[in-house]
Amino acid sequence: MVRIRRFEEEAGKMMENGKIPGALHLYVGQEAIASGVMQHLSELDQITSTHRGHGHLIAKGGEFSRMFAELYGKATGYCRGKGGSMHISNMDLGMLGANGIVGGGPPIAMGAAFSNKFRKTKQVAVAFFGDGASNEGSFHEAANMAALFKLPCVFVCENNGYGEYTPQANHQAVVDVADRAAGYGMPGVVVDGMDVIAVYEAAEEAIKRARAGDGPTLLECKTYRFYDHVGVRGMGLTYRTDEELEEWKKRDAIKGFEERLLQIGTLTQKAIDAVYANTNAEIEEAIQFAEDSPFPHPDELLEDVYSVRSEV
């Protein structure tokens, strides 16, 4: 969680001071979800992510250096500078992409889960998506098919209360997205997305169920993003209040988890400080790597549009 938080804080600064081109959708506030779920997945398991995807890749094992390089648009980035923040991915880690299309991920995760079942592996595919995406038809079709085919798939809805700048109450009549699970014939679970242990436990059950061949689960994690839809302060649109933000910050998953660990004596403040120090050093190194890396050569533009055909 700390690694995600610190990565995003630095990335946000760099976007706002113009070092990173384009748009970043940052995961600050929602870290408990990626962190809690990914504990149960190996590199062989697949995930699909969202436009807010850095946290998922970090939790899946992504290296800071190659991630920063991608955000910079450098040739050493995970996507050779062709994807950027919204398409960051790594097939070797089973990370089938952040996605610039809201609702783009669930059908792909369902397809990966189908493939896992077809190939008779024990892999599980997890689709991360938001409350906004739960209104897309693509989510509906993917959920229905995953349940129908009993696929090893988990749908993790990160309900942060806003579809971009529109509050949930203005974009769907249900309060709990998990209620929709009943319509697909799969279990729907609501969990506190600001509590990493709660996410961990709920995800464990859902992933176990998927791996055992008992089909998908819709796991809704109630959360909040501390930054704007895009960037840190974003465009300054008045769609939510500072009071609301401050209320949610009191429930910061990282702070809460640290306090809990200190209380029960699992960690000392010194150990916590060391986590931050190590993470900061790693980030510094990664940014240096990104800055030192070359941009893609113009000749690379037309590479990777097609695969060079191979004999089966």
């Binding site: 996507c79 062709k82 089938l96 990966a112 990777d304 097609y306």
Partner: protein, 333 residues
Amino acid sequence: MSEAKEQKPRKLPYVAAITEGVRQVLIEQENAFVAGEDVGQAGSVFGYYQGLFDEFGKDRIIDTPISEKGIIGLGVGASATGCRPILDLMFMDFIGECMDEIANQMAKMRFMFGGAATLPVTVLTMAGAGINLAAQHSQSLEAWLAHLPGVKVVMPSNAYDAKGLIIAAARDDNPVFVVLNKMSLALQAEVPEEMYEVPIGKAEIVREGKDMTILAIGRMVHEALAAVEPLKELGVDAEVIDVRSIQPFDTDTAIESLRKTHRGLIVHEAVRFGGFGGEIAAQLQELAFDYLDAPIARVGAPFSPVPFSPALEKVYLPNAEAIVAEVRKTLGI
């Protein structure tokens, strides 16, 4: 290969050539499967999966819900993770239901990931008018697909090409759309029993001529061939090229032909305005301007949805007469 006995060339209808191509792919590729609406026991509404469900079972011939986003999404996710799906998009008109999964996911995933993802997925889909299915079951929307970097698009006009292009598509490591034609399902051609490929990106000269190159797409190849005799009576010896693959498009074969004939006409069933013929015409004038003795002509459907009434659909569809009329107009004869 095992038997060397003399055999008469075998003829198959287009519909059976599709079945045979898919069947042989399923035998050859253990990670291939068919997924789509009514493909299972029903064998597809066009009948071209007949018998495959009984032979390969429900795990490889997969009935899906009527969920085109889901079908294409399934193919994207499955092909990126080790399968070689053959997807069935029952009518090409339904592409609107899944255009995001095609245009933003399937076509771009490899590029966006810097070449790390490979998507060996084939989509069979049925296009074309002529049997009174009206505006939402009759379109030829291949230009929508050809405009997307990352996918390939082929349009077999006959049974031989249908089988060979399906096999080539399934062996290709990219998303390939095989755009079939419903009026052609009964058309017979010689089709070898063994597996063979028709190369993607290669046009075929189906009739040699010296006065005018007719580049025909899909079923319009037959209309172009039907125009050959009347054109001959007008003193025009037409060369007919079956474009076969529109993405990639075989520019070389077209240019080579124009060097000989100095005149060109493109015919497709799709609406003429914004159709693929415009792209071909642009390429020809860019690359073969000096060879041209006449403007490049185009024949396509009028700027109208496909009508239902047989009386109107007949007027709507491009045919040999329209080709002849266009040639006369262009050449002033």
